[in-house]
Symmetry: C2
Subunit: 167 residues, 2 copies
């Protein structure tokens, strides 16, 4: 039984880790197709309303990141572009395109796993999502199951480099 002090945050962490495992499952689907393993799920009212995984190579679409695919699917399902009340779980910190799309979609909260030193746009390189000048802000929760999310990527790129060396 948890104490009152740690109760709510522990509960929220458990909930966040549960949904992040679903985002990781999406990332593994990307990997199974030879794509960089990044996955996302969108949650509203305690249920997944959309899923997405990186499909850039298979779709040959520069916008086919996990978050954008899931946002489009959620909007189509909800029949509205305004995704208020939605929490986004994604294994990698969103890039500027995806962070901007999350602002445009008016999501409430973004939970991500591994930081992206090269393109992270909610904390690492930019703080899109907490910029008071833009017309919407969302809560960011960084680093949920970060090691597992990051290992997916480092293992993927290690295998690619090994394959290129002929191993």
């Amino acid at each position: 039984m948890s104490t009152q002090a740690e109760g709510p945050s522990t509960d929220q962490r458990e909930i966040d880790e549960r949904w992040m495992r679903e985002a990781i499952a999406e990332a593994r689907r990307a990997e199974a197709h030879g794509e960089v393993p990044v996955g996302a799920v969108l949650v509203a009212d305690g249920a997944i309303i959309a899923r997405g995984h990186n499909l850039r190579e298979r779709a040959q679409d520069p916008t086919a990141h996990a978050e954008l695919i899931a946002l489009k699917a959620a909007a189509a399902r909800s029949r509205t572009w305004r995704l208020s009340g939605v929490t986004v779980y994604v294994t990698l910190e969103p890039c500027p395109m995806c962070a901007g799309a999350l602002v445009n979609a008016r999501v409430d909260r973004v939970v991500w796993g591994a930081a992206d030193p090269k393109a992270g746009a909610t904390e690492t390189l930019y703080s899109i999502g907490s910029d008071e000048r833009l017309n919407h802000r969302f809560e960011v929760c960084a680093g949920v199951l970060a090691d597992e999310c990051g290992s997916l990527l480092t293992d993927f790129f290690r295998r690619i480099r090994a394959a290129r060396r002929g191993h």
Copy 2:
């Protein structure tokens, strides 16, 4: 006959204005459907390879900005996500989502009309596109037919406000 000093830049300006007029025609298509009038065309090797106009309300898609629609169409047509050699003409300065997508698509050059004080992400609020930390940069040419591009928007919003007042 132009002098050598003004020759190339005058030529480029004429070319840019020619394609921007096509982007304005796209913006008018958005307007005809009651959408905020923003339009884009993508040009490669002296020809339009894709067009797009804002469709957010009709599509109920938070990502359905002119640039994203045109980028996806160009990638589908070219059968590659890598749109090197492409110049993007858009009537309004790209938002963070669209500026990020233009980086992800590796376009060469972005020419825009009116600045966006609320969300402009290649010059006004952010300089995505000239950020050395990201893995691609593009040339930005701002303010081409700016008055015409901006008037489309101010006239549109003026009509909406008048309609709301019952005029």
